[in-house]
């Protein structure tokens, strides 16, 4: 394998992981505020379909507007699904998990029905746009800076989210709503308002991620177009320890399995294609085991003293304390 080929593979991995990074970031904001939006798989399918179909229609009416309108419509759909989860759990006091799961199945069927006339139709495509100067950097340039705007958005989002959660006042409020809602409330934070707001914003990002598939990474629409990716994003949030940068690493890891499967298939044609399809799902179980099993705890305990704190930071994750619980003002 020569250098040019390696660079091509790496840049494809980055492209494949970009929508996952966006979806994971969206779900991280939501869960850091204390709400689990389990509907990701369904809302991403709906958003992918909506973004594609609306973009197509908008292009017919006003040529050139398709992409922006498509992404906007997809964000609205994602936000709507997230709003249903927030409203059902905060106002109607029902289970987030149950609502999210039903929305997952509903989004799947609804996207298949609403998108039925657009299966495999050609539509708007996000153009690749290298960043001047940066794309000239050897190796890194072609991998990171000769991509589409979706990729730049994904990485900018991670940086912004890290700064927002860890270095700003509103970010602190989000974290307090997810960790200790009672204490936050006592300090004057309107916990449920924050939860509504960031569930909806997170859902909007999930919607953008869905459209990023249908308009850029996995072009077009077909039944169950990106089925399963939403669940993978939810698993990455756990593996990522609800932190933006770790979440990004997890998303790249999963993006790599897709590219790797096709590369390995070419190198080992005698192995059934099936074997490579299992990769993301085996990886899902393995990463969740690493982040939550007691075995990891024992492994860390066996390590030399000096290695223990960094190992703990690397391997252990803990959810926001009040994740998935209701908060009632008293």
């Amino acid at each position: 394998m020569n250098e040019a080929e390696l660079i091509r593979i790496l840049s494809s991995i980055i492209l494949q992981s970009a929508p996952l990074i966006i979806a994971v970031s969206g779900e991280i904001i939501t869960e850091r505020a204390g709400i689990v939006n389990l509907s990701l798989d369904g809302s991403m399918l709906m958003a992918a379909m909506t973004g594609f179909v609306v973009g197509l229609k908008a292009d017919e009416a006003y040529p050139g507007s398709g992409l922006w309108v498509g992404f906007l419509a997809a964000a609205a759909v994602g936000a709507l699904f997230a709003f249903i989860v927030a409203f059902g759990s905060i106002r109607l006091r029902q289970s987030q998990v149950a609502i999210g799961f039903v929305l997952t199945l509903l989004g799947d069927d609804l996207s298949a029905f609403l998108g039925q006339n657009y299966v495999r139709a050609p539509g708007p495509v996000v153009e690749h746009q290298g960043i001047p100067l940066l794309e000239e950097i050897p190796v890194l340039g072609p991998i990171f800076f000769d991509q589409s705007i979706v990729v730049y958005f994904a990485f900018a989002l991670v940086a912004f989210l890290w700064w927002f959660l860890n270095r700003t006042q509103p970010g602190l409020k989000v974290r307090s709503a997810g960790e200790r809602p009672e204490a936050a409330f006592a300090r004057g934070v309107d916990v449920n308002r924050i939860r509504y707001l960031y569930t909806i914003i997170g859902g909007g990002l999930v919607g953008i991620a869905g459209a990023a598939y249908s308009l850029d990474v996995k072009l077009g629409w077909s039944d169950g177009h990106i089925r399963g990716f939403g669940w993978i994003a939810l698993a990455i949030v756990i593996f990522g320890g609800w932190a933006p940068i770790r979440g990004m690493v997890g998303a790249i890891l999963f993006g790599a399995t897709r590219t790797l499967a096709s590369v390995l298939q070419r190198s080992f044609p005698e192995v059934s294609v099936v074997a490579f399809n299992t990769l993301p799902w085996l990886l899902m179980i393995i990463v969740l085991l690493i982040s939550s099993s007691s075995l990891t705890e024992r492994l860390i305990a066996m390590a030399p003293d000096r290695l223990r704190p960094p190992l703990t930071r690397l391997l252990r994750v803990a959810p926001p304390l009040a994740l998935g619980t209701r908060f009632e003002e008293t």
Binding site: D108, S292, T325
Partner: protein
């Protein structure tokens, strides 16, 4: 005046369950209109597709049986506070195991069928046990392990169909060659319905009913589902009961998978479960975890799903409409099913809020279920 108000309240409470049903019908009708289909023609097609003639009714019944088996199993796992989303994979593994016996073993018919069923149940139970152990030993939530295992089971099916069990006429990705007639469940009058599977379903459902209502095990599962930590303090082994509940459900799902290959089809097919496991999750949620209503809701769902195939043929619309109808219905019931939670007659009583975080959010899916005391 107060008596008049209470009478009105009674009517609202009594008629309330109809509201989500009507809302779901209106929603799907709006979708039909959006796509230029006549609602009258469409609903008629759905009805004819489900109950038009004897063959259609038998087909609904044949679809209902594995759905019922899966729902019965899920009643057990939901009672224990477990989200067994992996049930889809357990059905698939049951189907693969039954196909394995059907393709490789030659026995007199009753023994052959008996062996197929037993092996299918074992396969389903073992696949469920993986999920359970990943939860108790590995701390992996059963939703995620279940999802991964579902996909692995489906990939495994595709591998078997396209590889070792490929039909002799060559590389179709659709399914294995039809099994020997002696390996199939005896079917009723050229339909896909097998009376034997109905008998097994009735037995399974009765077992679940008795286990949940009248046994110490059922009580332990309830304790586990309500509050895992305090039931641990009371001496309920959460690992033991979690694994047992999951394996019980997996065994019934595996049996459902066997019914799919041995009577619905006559071979192992690509999407062998056809989403029956997920549908069963919706059935049990819509039933509000009440055992007695499960068969009726499962039958209603089976009718809608079977009918939507005729609807597709007549209107050229995507058959996912049936799934949309059932999904919207469950969503509306989850959101608005309890009139007290809406604040129509003052707030709901705060009983569930005493539960710890995990139990409230992930383990007790709908809060309080109205009909159960």
């Amino acid at each position: 005046m107060t008596s008049e108000r209470t009478r009105a309240q009674k009517w609202i409470v009594w008629g309330w369950p109809l509201v989500p049903v009507i809302a779901a019908l209106l929603f799907t009708t709006a979708l039909l209109l959006l796509f230029g289909a006549s609602p009258v023609v469409s609903w008629q097609a759905l009805w004819v597709g489900a109950f038009g003639d004897q063959a259609k009714v038998l087909s609904v019944l044949a679809f209902w049986i594995p759905l019922m088996l899966a729902s019965a199993g899920l009643l057990v796992t939901f009672t224990a506070g477990l989200w067994n989303i992996g049930i889809e994979g357990q059905i698939v593994m049951g189907a693969i195991a039954a196909s394995w016996i059907a393709l490789t073993v030659q026995l007199p018919a009753p023994l052959q069928i008996g062996l197929e069923i037993v092996v299918a149940m074992i396969a389903g139970a073992l696949w469920a046990a993986v999920s359970a152990l990943l939860k108790t030993r590995g701390g992996v939530h059963e939703i995620f392990s279940g999802l991964a295992l579902n996909n692995l089971a489906i990939i495994f099916t595709n591998y078997m169909i396209s590889g070792p069990w490929q039909p002799p006429e060559g590389g179709s990705f659709r399914g294995t060659a039809p099994f020997d007639p002696g390996a199939l469940l005896p079917r009723f009058a050229d339909s896909r319905f097998s009376p034997l599977s109905l008998l097994l379903t009735v037995v399974a459902f009765a077992l679940v009913f008795i286990a949940l209502r009248g046994t110490f095990w059922g009580l332990k599962l309830k304790a586990l589902g309500r509050n895992a930590y305090s039931s641990f303090l009371l001496g309920v082994s959460s690992e033991r009961e979690t694994v047992l509940a999951m394996m019980f459900c997996g065994a019934l799902a595996g049996l459902g998978g066997a019914v799919r290959v041995l009577s619905w089809f006559d071979s192992l097919r690509q999407s062998i479960s056809g989403g029956i496991g997920f549908l069963a999750l919706l059935v049990v949620m819509l039933a509000g975890y009440r055992v007695v209503v499960v068969p009726f809701i499962a039958f209603f769902f089976a009718a809608v799903l079977s009918g939507s195939i005729t609807l597709q043929l007549r209107t050229q619309l995507h058959s996912s409409l049936g799934g949309i109808l059932t999904g919207v219905m469950v969503l509306f019931v989850l959101l608005f099913g309890d009139p007290r939670a809406l604040g129509i007659f003052g707030r709901k009583k705060e009983t569930e809020d005493e539960l710890p975080a995990e139990a409230a959010a992930l383990q007790h899916p709908t809060g309080s279920s109205p009909g159960e005391k």
